[in-house]
């Protein structure tokens, strides 16, 4: 028993490079800012919706959170936008990370308290809840961290739960008949694109697709036992599934897609670093490659985010 707990604990906290956490953190916080203004801008319209239509969720009743007013909605919007953009730089990961998590959670409670709950952001909420626990992580740093490993691992688990437990919910609410029913035809009628109308015309294709969705959701946890190459291919397949749902029934699941990058070696994606390399003639001669050369850095080195590397003296 103790041995099993130990090995689960080791798997949950399998170390990852700090640079991966830094990249994931920047991506997640940039997404929060983009979500406010681009992906779910309708949350802001709550300022104009009469309070009588507010039907607080259990968490809103327990805490108890106030009924949204224009002042509350606009204040959260601007404070959260500013805090998320600052947090994206990697500075003050705890002092900024915790407020961003709490404000975004409240933002989502406001969003979901008018009669419809969305199910596309459990992974993102988990990521926001655990990122502050990692502490400082510098872009490009290859030092491995167990705290960072845990943050990414629980985000991955949340992402896969979104698939696996969605299949469970289909069996709970729809039963086995879900697969032979007309759920996709309904979705297409309500929000289908021209491409979807074309697909709907093929006899039995939607029913086959329903079997396929159930199979893929039920088998999604397999991703955790695959070797790296197959794991990445499987994640690629998950992304392609969302591409198809976007192209047919215009459901983006954007927050989930961002959380799912926790499976990827994000530390290799360093746009600011590449930009600087391209501009500086000294390092232009360096061998090309997605990963930083492990050359020792001068004291007081400033990283991608403009942050002074912790533990190194500033200046010569």
């Amino acid at each position: 028993m103790a041995g099993a707990v130990t090995s689960v604990g080791r798997w949950l906290t399998e170390a990852v490079p700090r640079g991966r956490v830094a990249a994931f953190r920047t991506l997640v916080y940039l997404f929060v800012a983009a979500d406010l203004v681009i992906f779910t801008p309708w949350v802001r319209t709550r300022a104009d919706v009469p309070g009588e239509l507010y039907q607080p969720l259990l968490i809103g009743r327990i805490l108890p959170l106030p009924t949204p007013t224009p002042l509350l909605v606009h204040t959260i919007f601007w404070v959260l936008l500013g805090a998320a953009l600052l947090a994206a730089t990697g500075r003050a990961p705890r002092a900024l990370g915790w407020p961003v998590f709490l404000l975004y959670l409240e933002w989502m409670i406001i969003a979901m308290s008018y009669g419809k709950v969305d199910h596309d952001r459990f992974g993102l909420l988990v990521a926001l809840a655990v990122l502050p626990t990692v502490g400082a992580a510098r872009h490009g740093d290859r030092t491995r961290t167990e705290a960072g490993g845990w943050a990414l691992r629980v985000t991955q688990i949340a992402v896969i739960c979104t698939y696996f437990l969605a299949a469970w919910a289909k069996l709970r609410f729809g039963g086995l008949e879900w697969m032979t029913g007309s759920v996709l035809a309904r979705a297409i009628l309500r929000r289908g694109t021209d491409l979807a109308d074309l697909i709907a015309g093929v006899p039995y294709l939607l029913i086959v697709a329903q079997f396929g969705i159930m199979a893929f959701e039920l088998s999604s946890p397999v991703v955790f036992v695959l070797r790296e190459r197959w794991r990445h291919l499987t994640i690629g397949f998950f992304y392609s599934f969302h591409l198809v749902t976007m192209a047919t029934i215009t459901i983006s699941f954007a927050p989930h897609l961002i959380a799912m990058t926790s499976f990827l070696p994000l530390e290799r994606v360093r746009p600011l670093h590449w930009l600087r390399q391209a501009r500086s003639p000294r390092s232009a001669a360096a061998p090309p490659g997605p990963v930083d050369p492990p050359a020792p850095q001068p004291a007081g080195q400033v990283d991608d985010t403009g942050q002074v590397v912790p533990g190194r003296p500033v200046g010569p």
């Binding site: 689960v8 030092t143 709970r172 029913g181």
Partner: protein
Amino acid sequence: MDMLTTRGRAVRLVATAVGAALLLAGTFWGTDDHFPFGPFRMYSTSNPANQPAPDTRVEGVDRAGSVVALDERRTGIRRAEIEGQQDRYAAEPELLREVAEAYAERNPAAPALVEVRVVVRWHGIRDGRPTGRFHDETVVSWRAP
């Protein structure tokens, strides 16, 4: 490598177990009310292969007699939220006045609405495929006094 302390590892293990337990409980017995730990029930209901599909919309009639589509952009209220509270509207059509108010708030220059109604367009489905036929049903309506 940054190692976790024994305590740090134990705290994380317990947090993971508590989160997983809440999510599993939500999936087995919970409802949307238990957000963020409710069941992932998007598109989870089952409908017989030949059952007509509802496509709900909210529309208003303004003083000039024009019909206005009251969508999310015009009222700040999402369609699924109208559907989610449809029983409430049916029991209390007076609530649709709130939709008219939300519209007036966001469109101050537009003529006031004298009627708001929730209309369901029932699309025919055969063998899991749309037939292309439909009929409209007004399920709730409210008229300004």
